[in-house]
């Protein structure tokens, strides 16, 4: 009976293994190197310091063009910032509110409950300011790209001069890891462009790593809770499965 069970579930295993994921299948030929993040693997968690530095880079560099419309300033509490710090960060931004009692729209400093301020009012404005290219929203970017955070890290560190024989289109930049290699975004960060408060040297690799960590958290803020719950659920189910099998054996003992 055990062998039969194993056989049946080997079939499931085989099915799963044979299943081509569309992500892999649609596959860009470019291999994305693994950057090695704190949240890799089954038990990984977000490196809070790295994510905070990543937010700093986003705030000082990326947010000039890229929106993160799904995030609110209050979400930063999850990165270990205090309520006062979050309120202070929010108050640096001005948002449009209203209409007030006179029917007028008005500007006020952002509150923690506000969404991240968007750099452009709409897609057309964003394209107009960026040579026709649209700086994508980064809220769920690591879920929206094959390779996830590794891809972000690779992209930020993958800028180089075009190899001999490659003709670049007008206004495009060469990137080793971008599909097709021609990307409209110019290299966004350079080494030592930002200064980290905690004294971490702002090498290109470090900055890319921190931004990728921040964006991974932004895309999957539930990841740690999810994995922690998953461990408990699987342990519970394993014990329950053992009991269920013992019950089954006992009940079937007299008919075999």
């Amino acid at each position: 009976m055990v062998r039969n069970a194993l056989k049946a579930f080997a079939v499931i295993g085989g099915l799963l293994a044979a299943m081509p994921t569309p992500a892999r299948a649609a596959g860009e030929a470019i291999a994305i190197p693994r950057a090695g993040f704190s949240f890799d693997g089954i038990f990984g968690t977000y490196d809070r310091a790295s994510a905070q530095r990543g937010f700093q880079v986003y705030k000082e560099v990326c947010s000039a063009c890229h929106a993160m419309r799904l995030l609110s300033y209050r979400n930063l509490r999850e990165l270990g910032l205090t309520e006062a710090q979050v309120a202070q960060i929010a108050s640096q931004f001005t948002v449009m509110d209203g209409p007030n009692d006179e029917g007028q729209m008005f500007e006020r400093p952002a509150r923690p409950s506000d969404r991240f301020r968007r750099p452009f009012p709409n897609q057309q404005a964003a394209r107009a300011a960026n040579n026709g290219a649209y700086p994508v929203d980064l809220s769920v970017i690591t879920k929206a790209r094959a390779g996830g955070a590794d891809y972000i890290h690779a992209l930020l560190t993958g800028y180089q001069d075009p190899p001999d024989g490659v003709t670049m289109m007008e206004g495009m930049n060469y990137n080793r890891y971008f599909p097709g290699h021609q990307i409209a975004m110019a290299q966004p960060v350079y080494p030592d462009q930002v200064e980290f408060a905690d004294g971490t040297p702002a090498t290109l690799d470090q900055v890319a790593r921190d931004v990728a960590t921040f964006l991974a958290w932004a895309a999957e803020p539930e990841l740690e809770e999810r994995r922690a719950m998953g461990v408990k659920v699987i342990i519970f189910l394993t014990i329950l499965g053992g009991l269920a099998y013992a019950v089954k054996r006992k009940i079937w003992a007299d008919v075999h």
């Binding site: 039969n4 069970a5 056989k7 049946a8 579930f9 079939v11 499931i12 099915l15 799963l16 044979a18 299943m19 081509p20 994921t21 569309p22 992500a23 892999r24 299948a25 649609a26 089954i42 419309r69 799904l70 979400n75 994508v136 929203d137 809220s139 769920v140 879920k143 929206a144 790209r145 094959a146 599909p179 895309a219 803020p221 539930e222 809770e225 999810r226 994995r227 719950m229 998953g230 461990v231 659920v233 699987i234 189910l237 394993t238 329950l240 499965g241 269920a244 099998y245 019950v247 089954k248 009940i251 079937w252 007299d254 008919v255």
Partner: protein
């Protein structure tokens, strides 16, 4: 006993009072307590019960998702992400629903495969089988429309590609397409009606599942030997034997399910569906969900649009007539040495098609798809009808009990029908 009351065996006065007036307890006892079930099921016979549980999980999670989801092109994507971020345990409900669809297809594929391998579709279970194919079709329609709801890039472009297929039909094609779209392109009316139908169809599935179970309980289950039970020595009461066995299988299924939900929730999805739908930007490769890939490969294997559409629908439609294409009286492939190999090869072809469906439509995948498609249909239309005449099956066992127990098979002590209450 008063006239007009059902003659109930139940002792508990409350249960008895209800049962006399509406004998649902007697019915449950008959259909799920003492129901005589072949004693030789292997674990493949878990998958019907698993599919039932999966359907209930999908409906339960779906109802909660619908409380927070907004079926509008401007809000659908963000409302799904809001569920993920701001609804209590919203991420759990959504990932269970999303991976539940994949689990449903895994379970149902295995369930159908089991029916094909052990000849469960043959007389007297033809109608049972056909109802199963109806459920499968409804599931595919429901899953397709559900995938459109998050309004990501693959939602939009998948919907565009699949609904456009109907335009291949002469005369009525354009009319069907505008009916599906509710306009002249995939847009807000499409999303609205897909949401409405996605909420409706699962309950239609429940109805057909009920009929599927009714039909099953008339003919009784097939079994790995494919030999009908000849008496009480060949069967066991469903409870506690198969309730216990199904419970164990159910826990294993939950472990696989939990593995996906908690540790790889997006593994079976496509990253492009986390990009909001944009009618002006076509993704590099439009691929359907993994469970549609074999049929997608059949569609693309044919150079003609109408031909491809007909063949794709035909690949499911052929299942309806499978009971009459397979003329061999022997059910289980265990006793059909040639058909067994032919069917395992068909299974390989199914996976090959699944693989090719995920690849771009270029060589060598097109040729491989064509060969696999040819074999897919040849198995049903040529090999099975021929083998019914030509194949010499192995000798069948005299009875289930003899095959399982080696002897005449005395009635086991625990096998006597016992009421559910005492067990």
């Amino acid at each position: 006993m008063a006239i007009g009351l059902h003659n109930s065996d139940f002792k508990n006065p409350v249960v008895r009072w209800i049962d006399q007036r509406m004998p649902i307890f007697t019915m449950m006892q008959k259909e799920y307590g003492t129901f005589p079930t072949p004693r030789n099921f292997n674990y493949f016979w878990n998958f019907g019960a698993l599919a039932m549980v999966n359907l209930m999980i999908m409906i339960a999670t779906g109802i909660f998702l619908a409380m927070h989801y907004t079926p509008h092109t401007s809000y659908a994507f963000d409302s799904v992400e809001r569920i993920m971020r701001d609804v209590n345990f919203g991420w759990l409900i959504r990932y269970v629903h999303m991976n539940g669809a994949s689990m449903f297809f895994i379970v149902v594929f295995i369930h159908i495969w089991r029916g094909m391998y052990y000849g469960s579709y043959k007389a007297p279970r033809e109608l049972l089988w056909m109802l199963g194919v109806v459920i499968f079709l409804l599931m595919m329609a429901t899953a397709f429309m559900g995938y459109v709801l998050p309004w990501g890039q693959m939602s939009f472009w998948g919907a565009t590609v699949i609904t456009n297929l109907f335009s291949a039909f002469p005369f009525v094609g354009e009319w069907i397409v505008s009916l599906l779209w509710g306009g002249f392109s995939v847009d807000n009316p499409t999303l609205n009606r897909f949401f409405s139908l996605h909420y409706l169809l699962p309950f239609v599935i429940v109805g057909v599942v009920f009929l599927h179970v009714v039909a099953l309980h008339i003919t009784g289950s097939n079994n790995p030997l494919g030999v009908e039970p000849k008496g009480p020595q060949d069967t066991l009461p469903f409870h506690p034997y198969y309730t216990a066995k199904d419970s164990f299988g159910l826990v294993i299924y939950f472990i696989v399910f939990a593995g996906f939900v908690f540790f790889a929730p997006n593994y079976l999805g496509h990253p492009d569906n986390y990009i909001p739908a944009d009618p002006l930007v076509t993704p590099a490769h439009i691929v359907p969900e993994w469970y549609f890939l074999p049929f997608y490969a059949i569609l693309r294997a044919v150079p003609d649009k109408l031909g491809g559409v007909l063949l794709m629908f035909g690949s499911i439609a052929v299942l309806f007539v499978l009971p009459w294409l397979d003329s061999s009286p022997v059910r289980s492939m265990r006793f059909r040495p040639i058909a067994r190999v032919a069917f395992l090869l068909w299974t390989v072809c199914f996976f090959v098609l699944m693989y090719c469906g995920a690849k771009p439509a270029e060589e060598p995948y097109v040729t491989i798809s064509r060969l696999a498609t040819a074999y897919y249909f040849a198995y049903f239309l040529v090999i099975l009808p021929l083998l019914g005449r030509l194949e010499r099956p192995l000798p069948l066992p005299e009875s289930i009990a003899r095959a399982v127990l080696g002897g005449g098979g005395p009635l086991p002590a625990g096998a006597a029908a016992k009421p559910m209450e005492k067990a």
